[in-house]
Symmetry: C2
Subunit: 131 residues, 2 copies
DNA sequence: CGTCGCGTTGACAACCATTCTCACCTTAGT
DNA sequence: ACTAAGGTGAGAATGGTTGTCAACGCGACG
């Protein structure tokens, strides 16, 4: 049974308000910034639960830290992140899915999974750099 | 200046003999298993150097640990890993490169980088599971 | 409403990959 | 060989993440 606790509600709310991928530590800070008191371990536990429930996406940044984000669409999709401001665009890429499948088949691998993320500099940040 | 030391040679050799992606710790064990004495920190340092020299590929496994591998081709490419035996196939995917570029352009992101790895069960391991 | 069972929590320790420190060692150029 | 500068190792430090366990609080049920 999954209970709705004060802490979980606080974490979910912060996550819902955030457009971008956040580390567990950032979420923790944000929750505390809103006056709630929530333990770091609880943030991690909540994220694990939501990830395995498919309600949240995880990805690892270049340093290997886990980052979480509540996505609009629940189906499988990919992301395009701005490496400066963290802005995130969701991308569905039937092309990549097909590619993964066909490459797997060509090498006689079964049960194919894949990761694919894009990183770049968004138009706004590129403009800022010029100035 | 880059010097060739006993330790570095040992690490490079082990890496050359290995077809699969290995964590720094695994490489360390393998080197010591061959009778050489090399510090773990040195393995990490050597890997960093080789990665930034483009001689070695890194990727992060699901747990976020860095894994290293010496690849045949030096150009940018992707991998298909067997999640059971670790076997690795190199894949060049012009398709994915184009996809990354065009998606980036469509969202007006510049300086696009991407990650894309495939995981599956190879034919041999699939056969083993049946038995 | 009150009780009770069990999922949940939090403070803190434990873990573990990775990096840093720093005194000592080795390579490479001459 | 001589020496400067890069390289090394043991261990400590770092930092993200997970485990521990007693105390807590949802919510089902009466």
């Amino acid at each position: 049974m999954q209970r709705m606790t004060r802490q979980r509600a606080a974490v979910v709310e912060v996550l819902a308000d955030s457009e971008e991928f956040r580390t567990a530590q950032e979420l923790h800070d944000m929750v505390r910034g809103q006056g709630h008191s929530v333990g770091l371990a609880t943030v991690y536990r909540t994220m694990q639960a939501m990830v395995s429930a498919g309600e949240v996406d995880v990805l690892r940044n270049a340093e290997g830290e886990a980052m979480y984000r509540r996505c609009e669409r629940t189906e499988h999709h990919h992301h395009l992140l701005c490496r400066d401001c963290g802005r995130t665009e969701e991308i569905d890429a039937a092309l990549v899915e097909q590619w993964a499948e066909s490459v797997g088949r060509a090498h006689r691998f079964s049960n194919i999974e894949h990761t694919a993320e894009l990183f770049g500099t968004c138009a706004d940040c590129a403009a800022d750099e010029d100035s």
